[in-house]
């Protein structure tokens, strides 16, 4: 429950993450919907191997932020740098190719395909061109990736079930599996435990802890236990701006953050 229980990949804040360039960086990122500034001039950085939470009350701009990073929404100002390259305004399929994957707040799977097919389609999306002479190897490679992703989210045993027949919690985890199969450098999880029971939340928390060992993760979540236990650092958004940033302990001790959450 405490910050000390954060995953054991070392703290990127003072570890190797600080030595190399940030994996993701936004500069003055802004989105306006008509007269409403959903995001204003957000300067944000995530180090490699970091697990970062983005939290904030309703309407703080969290989903808008995710939508910009993943190309669902074009920012109206500012820049997004990923892995040393500018990706501002790129379409979502290109951003996915560059290595940013996401899961959605609302479950987004192919219900009438098997669990395996759901994940394999994502694994296949990484092939840039079809080559009739190399297809055999390609398939082996794709199957391997698919299996690894299913293993990571604990769904290998259900590979041949129809996705529609999975429980809600399993479907949410399948979505993470689909994202993993694209072999991302950065995984964005939008409320991965939304609508889950306490037991399912615990399982998904362990799942994220496992995959976080070799992946940079950005997570929007309302379950504070999940946030505090899994994340190295937390960014608090409020009215489209960064209100605070720090370790779980620093955020918990920040009176401004408590004020915003309780509306005092």
């Amino acid at each position: 429950m405490s910050a000390a229980a954060a995953i054991d990949t070392g703290s990127p804040a003072d570890g190797r993450g600080a030595l190399s360039s940030p994996l993701l960086k936004t500069e003055l990122l802004s989105v306006r919907f008509g007269g409403l500034a959903a995001l204003s001039e957000v300067n944000f950085q995530v180090a490699r191997d970091e697990v970062r939470a983005v939290i904030g009350p309703n309407g703080a701009g969290k989903s808008t932020f995710f939508n910009c990073l993943t190309g669902v929404l074009r920012p109206t100002g500012g820049r997004i740098m990923f892995d040393g390259e500018e990706i501002t305004g790129l379409r979502s399929n290109l951003i996915s190719q560059k290595g940013i994957a996401r899961s959605y707040q609302i479950t987004n799977i192919l219900p009438n395909a098997s669990v395996l097919e759901n994940v394999r389609i994502a694994a296949q999306s990484r092939r840039h061109a079809w080559n009739m002479f190399s297809h055999h190897d390609t398939f082996a490679d794709i199957n391997e990736k698919t299996e690894a992703a299913l293993q990571a989210v604990g769904l290998l045993g259900k590979a041949h079930e129809l996705a529609a027949n999975l429980s809600h919690g399993e479907q949410r985890n399948l979505e993470i599996g689909i994202a993993l199969a694209t072999e991302p450098k950065l995984l964005c999880l939008d409320e991965p435990t939304a609508g889950m029971s306490a037991a399912e939340t615990g399982e998904t928390k362990e799942l994220i802890r496992r995959i976080a060992k070799k992946l940079t993760i950005l997570i929007v979540e309302h379950d504070m236990e999940v946030v505090m236990e899994l994340c190295h650092r937390i960014t608090v958004l409020h009215y489209g701006q960064i209100l605070a940033e720090g370790t779980p302990q620093e955020i918990q001790d920040n009176p401004r953050v408590q004020e915003v959450y309780l509306k005092t």
């Binding site: 309703n58 309407g59 809600h168 479907q171 609508g195 379950d223 408590q258």
Partner: protein
């Protein structure tokens, strides 16, 4: 309307709304995991919790907008589980959804008349009801011919509450009335809740604004992950209480 005193006593002892062990799903997603709560006659009850814990779903389940797979909802001692929203509205349950759902292209007056044009409401009664809400919300009287969509957020919220009042409800289910409103409007919503309470209307108030909820309510329920995790008199806790921090803070 009881004739014998004994019945009257029994009636006043029965809560106005009783939600008992309700389980509600959206598709496969199990949202409410056995929610139980009561609202007394004329009582203001707060329902607190973080985003996504099932507060709005609890209101929708009471209002018949979603059907629980298990559990019961009773109104005035009678089972209402599974009844459609329009019947519940006529029985005296008012609902003000989080997104307000005013008719943007209809005028303020037309919005109000959607709740007014119903059988058994004579001209005098209509006038009395309109006079009452216009006394509560003078700004709506000023803007009676203006399209609902041109009102400010706070005015739209007032219109949504006023429209619910047209049905002379015994309870209003109020879903995050202060969301997105500026501070001045927030305190005005607090006054409106107080005024409704003075009229004898019960309120089940879903809110993120903790001070407002503690001030307006007699009792509060705090939800987490589809369950009521804490229940107490609003006077027992304040915003600095450990239970508030645990379930609502960071």
């Amino acid at each position: 309307m009881s004739t014998a005193n004994g019945d009257a006593a029994a009636e006043s002892a029965t809560p106005l709304v009783r939600v008992d062990d309700v389980h509600t799903y959206y598709g496969k997603s199990h949202i409410l995991h056995g929610v139980s709560l009561t609202v007394g006659r004329g009582e203001v009850v707060g329902l607190l919790g973080r985003n996504g814990v099932g507060k709005s779903t609890t209101l929708k389940t009471i209002m018949g907008l979603v059907q629980p797979s298990r559990g019961t909802v009773a109104f005035g001692g009678n089972a209402i589980t599974g009844l459609p929203p329009h019947k519940l509205a006529r029985m005296g349950i008012g609902y003000v959804p989080e997104d307000r759902r005013i008719f943007r292209l209809l005028t303020v007056m037309e919005n109000l008349r959607t709740g007014l044009d119903r059988a058994g409401v004579g001209e005098d009664k209509r006038k009395a009801l309109l006079d009452k809400v216009f006394a509560y919300f003078p700004v709506l009287a000023e803007r009676r011919s203006q399209a609902g969509g041109t009102l400010s957020g706070g005015e739209q919220q007032m219109l949504a509450i006023a429209r619910a009042m047209m049905l002379e409800p015994r309870i209003i289910l109020l879903d995050e009335p202060t969301e997105g409103l500026m501070p001045r409007m927030v305190s005005q919503i607090g006054q409106i809740i107080e005024a409704l309470h003075d009229e004898g209307i019960a309120i089940l108030l879903v809110e993120q604004n903790v001070p407002l909820t503690l001030q307006a309510s007699k009792r509060v329920y705090i939800m987490e992950k589809g369950l009521v995790r804490h229940h107490c008199a609003a006077s027992e806790i304040d915003v600095n209480d450990a239970v508030i921090k645990q379930y609502l803070g960071v």
